[in-house]
């Protein structure tokens, strides 16, 4: 791929322009647009080849966003709540590409909850982003399943039901990468995305991403105001690609290094609490305490790269199934004759 601009380029010679998509048609100020920008930035920073990325989504405001980044990547805007199954098929067909999926709280927390859980159970390699605003935008302002108790909306009134917590669901399904962030915290979103893109397995990032039109009043736990006021990072996250720095300085005790399969590392600097994101039980406890205390904690909640991916479980060949030719797909005449002989 060649570029003719004099903008800065990354390791594979692409500019940020080469990672752009079409113009967003979402509302001005929508949190989703910030996430889109960070996806572009993360892909640029990691020097991902757009041809090795596949964009996936379901239906909803968030699911429109794959049209707004990585125009040079293939993508599939699927059905409401069904991005997990279609992504599973794509991942089986072509294990060499990285699926980046964008979903929303309705798409994942309501209609797609079953598929979401089974995708994690299978450990389909995908960066699964939930742009979570607690409200249905395209249908004009109904509560979603992630709305907190007491969330008050002009059209739908007050929500009386407890929320479904995307991260708790992911932890329960033994997802190996669980993170929460806030669309207003660009750096954290970007570092988490880079870590997720380097993770082997399902990586879920639940990003509180305010809906400026229907759910951005200050008393909403999904608003910019609330997020800026209340976000409590559990650590400072720096993603380090291994080829950049062979020696990484870190302070044992106050910093923790998590190494990923191909060599990249996630440097986590501890903040107020002593937290170990490799401890699943501690992760579940953190989520439960945060819920009880109404705390908005963000960061890398859980990481465990030991589970085999679906392609590994299925013992698939290394080359994509989709690239097999006739000689590989047809059995030999001898094998066929043997099977016919069995009858």
């Amino acid at each position: 791929m060649t570029t003719t601009t004099n903008r800065p380029t990354n390791r594979i010679g692409l500019t940020t322009q080469d990672y752009q998509g079409g113009t967003s048609t979402l509302c001005a100020g929508c949190g989703h647009n910030s996430v889109t920008s960070q996806i572009i930035a993360a892909c640029y920073d990691l020097s991902l080849d757009p041809r090795q990325v596949v964009k996936m989504s379901g239906i909803g405001c968030s699911s429109k966003t794959p049209a707004y980044f990585l125009n040079r990547s293939f993508g599939f805007n699927t059905l409401h709540g069904r991005m997990p199954s279609v992504s599973t098929g794509v991942a089986l067909a072509n294990r060499t590409v990285l699926p980046i999926g964008v979903s929303g709280d309705g798409d994942t927390g309501s209609i797609g909850l079953g598929q979401f859980k089974h995708m994690m159970r299978r450990n389909v390699p995908i960066v699964y982003i939930v742009e979570n605003n607690g409200v249905y935008g395209l249908t004009k302002g109904q509560h979603s399943a992630t709305a907190d108790i007491g969330q008050n909306l002009k059209y739908a009134g007050t929500n009386e039901l407890p929320p479904i917590d995307i991260c708790v669901e992911a932890l329960a399904a033994d997802c190996g990468f669980v993170a929460r962030s806030f669309a207003g915290d660009a750096k954290q979103v970007r570092e988490l995305l880079k870590a997720a893109m380097s993770f082997e397995g399902t990586a879920v990032i639940d990003i509180i991403s305010p809906c400026v039109t229907f759910n951005n009043q200050d008393d909403s736990t999904k608003s910019y105001g609330y997020g800026k006021q209340n976000e409590e990072r559990i650590q400072d996250i720096t993603f380090i690609q291994s080829y950049e720095e062979v020696q990484v300085d870190y302070e044992p005790g106050s910093e923790q290094m998590v190494k990923l399969h191909d060599g990249p590392m996630i440097k986590l600097r501890k903040l107020d609490r002593d937290y170990d994101p490799t401890n699943r039980w501690q992760a579940i406890q953190l989520m439960e305490e945060a819920r009880n205390k109404n705390e908005f904690v963000t960061g890398l909640i859980y990481i465990n790269e030991t589970r085999p991916t679906l392609q590994q479980t299925m013992q698939l060949i290394d080359t994509p199934l989709a690239y097999q030719d006739d000689a590989q797909l047809r059995p030999s005449r001898e094998a066929f004759a043997r099977v016919m002989g069995e009858f």
Binding site: K55, N77, T78, P84, L316, A322, Q324, L329
Partner: protein, 614 residues
Amino acid sequence: MTTTDTGVTPSMIDPRVPIVNDFSIVAATENGSGSQTANNTLIRAIFKMGISVSGKNLFPSNIQGLPTWYTIRVSHQGYTARREQAEILVAFNPRTSEEDLAKLPSGGVCVHPDDLKFANPRSDVIYYPLPVKELVKQINPPQNLRDYLANMAYVGALTELLSIDRAEIEAALMHHFNGKRKAVDLNLAMVDSAIEYTRNNLPKQDPFSVAPLNMTSGQMLIDGNTAAGIGSVVSGVSVVAWYPITPSTSLVDAITEYAPKLRPAVDGKVNYAIVQAEDELAAAGIIVGAGWAGCRAMTATSGPGISLMNEFGGLAYFAEVPIVIWDIMRMGPSTGLPTRVSQGDILSAYYLGHGDSQHVCLLPGSMTECFEFAGMAFDLADRLQTPVMVLSDLDLGMNNWMTDPFTYPEQPLDRGKVLNTEAFEAFLAEKGSWGRYRDIDGDGITYRTILGNQHPRAAWLGRGTGHNENAVYSERNDDWQRNMDRLTRKHNTARTLVPAPVVEHVPGARVGIIAYGSTHDAVREARDYLRAHGVESSYMRVRALPLNDDVTAFMAQYDEVYVVELNQDSQMMQLLAAHAPVHAGKMRPVNLCDGLPLTAVFVLNRILQHRNAL
């Protein structure tokens, strides 16, 4: 021709007139009692004697304990359809024995355990009581095998009574137990013991017997789901996603069994994935993803699964994703009769999805077609970039049918208009630009690039929303209309690519019969009986949707057109009427919707009734 099936059930079988190779045996047993081994042994032994057989299993939706009936038809004419009545009853289920006995024709035969007492014994039936418990005791098998072995008693009795070749019984057991001598010997001991008991204690009183013929040499016995599974593996299926549902499960089981034999692992790694999904929605989603990304992907399901796949059917149709869906039809609506046959999904499959969508549907009518249509479905899906449904049914899928062995496909796989990186370069050089949904050739089929294409302009975003020729989101009315017109054009192209109907014109016939799928053998037999009644008939077996001009031409040629199908609402007749409205008035329905496979007698009687009313 025999007298038994010409439309009138004989009131009495004369025991003095031998009936050779022309009768049915029904084995009434309990589900889960191991009777399948006994029945498979019997049918295979008779088949290997060169006699035409068919086996139909009428089983409950249950794991163990409910009644099940297995019917073996023996026919020197080569008829394989179900018959209305069986002459020989194996009454091994006390819960149904009274009803089973009542169904026998006069002069019929009843083989039963000697401790089974009939409340209403018939004096016009020949009884052969077997001391089953005593025979089992003599063999003294392990406790857990006693019930299974008991069923081999009727195999032995029938072997002796009907003159079945004992060597073929042994060979059939060897086949059934994959040559495991210990299991074979145990079962054979029971068979031999029953043969000996019958010979010494039960003098032959009935006229039925088998005698070797050479009708079946070179043929094999198989069920349609196994044929379809093997056909799919042979045709390059790479991703199978499914959810267990009767009667389709054994199709995926066959893929699981034969894929390792046909496409063995290399260094422990395989080039196919079989995923048991969480439901049929996900199964459809997985194959849509895999098909979109360039794999040959399929699922197998039945009516309730088809309902759940509705939305994905529409997406795949509109985003133009090749997938193959096997629907092994069972009786609906709703959960219906899960273990009974039907052709009730014709309309729901053809029109799967909301809005305007019409799907290519293949309608196999034989074991060979179950095998060959598996490959054809993939070729058509790739060629047309669309879902292809294969509408089989429980009778084809799960019952035993005779067939010639399948032949290795000589044609290369047709992957359709796919542009890889080099082809894309060449395309751009020639045409200047490319659009995913641009109809260059006028056949409605556009050029497709696949994930992994390295050209920077080859990527596109698939979607179920409105799009223009470049696959870009569009709500423009003219973009929408143009795209729908092209999809109609593509469907008309499909008309020319799907398998043509099989037509047999009989000179002088005024009657035309139209059928499809598993009803073929009953229709074939019924036409012989019609001829005996002085009615010549021509025949068209439809093998695919959309319907084409051949169908119209056939309907035009006959004064009376009878449409045979296994559903209540005459679903194919509705499609025929819409296809050729000018001939719609000539059509009469011959439809059975009681969950049982069609019989020739039903077809004969229904057509005669229609004719009498003319």
